[in-house]
Symmetry: C2
Subunit: 204 residues, 2 copies
DNA sequence: CGCATAGTTGACTACGCTCAACCCTGGTGG
DNA sequence: CCACCAGGGTTGAGCGTAGTCAACTATGCG
């Protein structure tokens, strides 16, 4: 029932047999923008970022892929990858030829529905990012990001990547992020210990 | 073959029979954020905007639905709508109960694949928006938007909605948009007649 | 041990937002 | 038919916020 590209055993044999595995170290690039889109991937261990560069040279992060997630499913519908996949930390990747995936999808609506669900989740996270970017004030944007990042009911967030990265995801300069976090801390709205942030929220 | 929610005749009878139709005038709201997500829609005629409000009260436009497009497919996976659907111009909408859609999807991988393709397109347009928002300079953001908006090979763009709307989509104030367009015109990079913009591009 | 990079803070700048005034258009009602 | 009004479009002036540059510390890695 639970079709999951990161667990080949849960998949139809045709897919399982078509898969092959690759290992990468930090900094390697799995595929580049405009490379022929031949594979769909799942991440067994590690972390990978899907990014593009704007005309100004700024990095845009579309997705941060973590262990157990699949990515580049959009290869199904395009000839070329539309972003770069950059390996963050040593990673082990499962590669599925998109032709095989496509074959199986034709006759397997369970797999198709699991793809749909994945697409939907990506949509949501893109919408969340877009909503964040629509908040002009750095302070409010950061607060909203903290709220989104906290698991429901929780008030502590532990980030597994640098503040610099987070600043970029938020579309802010690192300096602005540091400064604003310091300010929020001074105002006792949050407390921090390294990459752990605690919300001291009497407000929503 | 070409399953299309906006053309009921192209659909399995179960879906076609489950559909019902509604008409709306400009300004009406089809559904609100957090309403129970009971239906998936297709737009026969008109234009509808899917929007949310930020904590600052700013409008975020996630999608502009035009005639022939379907929307709110994400209702399949959520209990509540996560945005508002606001009617822009008089519109005729086809409503499919999501339970019926779900039923049909189970056994019809053609329909599932057509949904996948739709989701993929929405993903792309969200990514494009996000990329735009990552361009800090208003000038470059607007230029990039014009490039994205021009059909490939074409140099003229005719907008079917106000500059005010477009400014909002770009995350800029209307004044900044007007000013920058005027500047680009002075520099003979574009020419304008009302809502028609022509790129005078020796670049890219 | 040393280097590269993240994190931090200060000072200055610049860009885009706000407010304000004005023109122009289309639509509505008297 | 005209008067009025609402809203979009346009431009100016001033301000505020976030970016940039710079110096320095802390941290991790070879």
């Amino acid at each position: 029932m639970a079709m999951d590209l990161s667990v080949p055993d849960s998949l139809p044999s045709q897919l399982r047999d078509g898969a092959n595995y690759q290992n990468f170290v930090a900094g390697q690039v799995l595929f580049h923008h405009r490379d022929p889109a031949k594979y769909i991937f799942a991440l067994e261990v590690g972390r990978i970022r899907l990014v593009r560069y704007t005309c100004e040279g700024n990095l845009v992060v579309f997705q941060i892929v973590r262990a157990g997630e699949s990515f580049a499913e959009s290869a199904l519908f395009t000839e070329l990858y539309h972003c770069n996949a950059v390996v963050d930390v040593p990673s082990r990747v499962i590669c599925y030829p998109k032709t095989v995936v496509w074959e199986v999808l034709q006759n397997n609506s369970d797999l198709a529905l699991s793809f749909l669900r994945r697409f939907e989740r990506k949509n949501q996270s893109l919408k969340t990012l877009l909503e964040l970017r629509s908040i002009h004030s750095a302070r409010d944007r950061i607060l909203q990001y903290l709220l989104f990042s906290a698991s429901p009911g929780e008030t502590t967030i532990v980030f597994d990547r640098s503040y610099k990265d987070i600043a970029n995801e938020l579309g802010l300069s690192p300096e602005t992020l540091y400064r604003t976090l310091a300010e929020l801390e001074r105002e006792k709205i949050i407390t921090r210990h390294g990459r752990q942030v605690e919300l001291v929220t009497p407000q929503i």
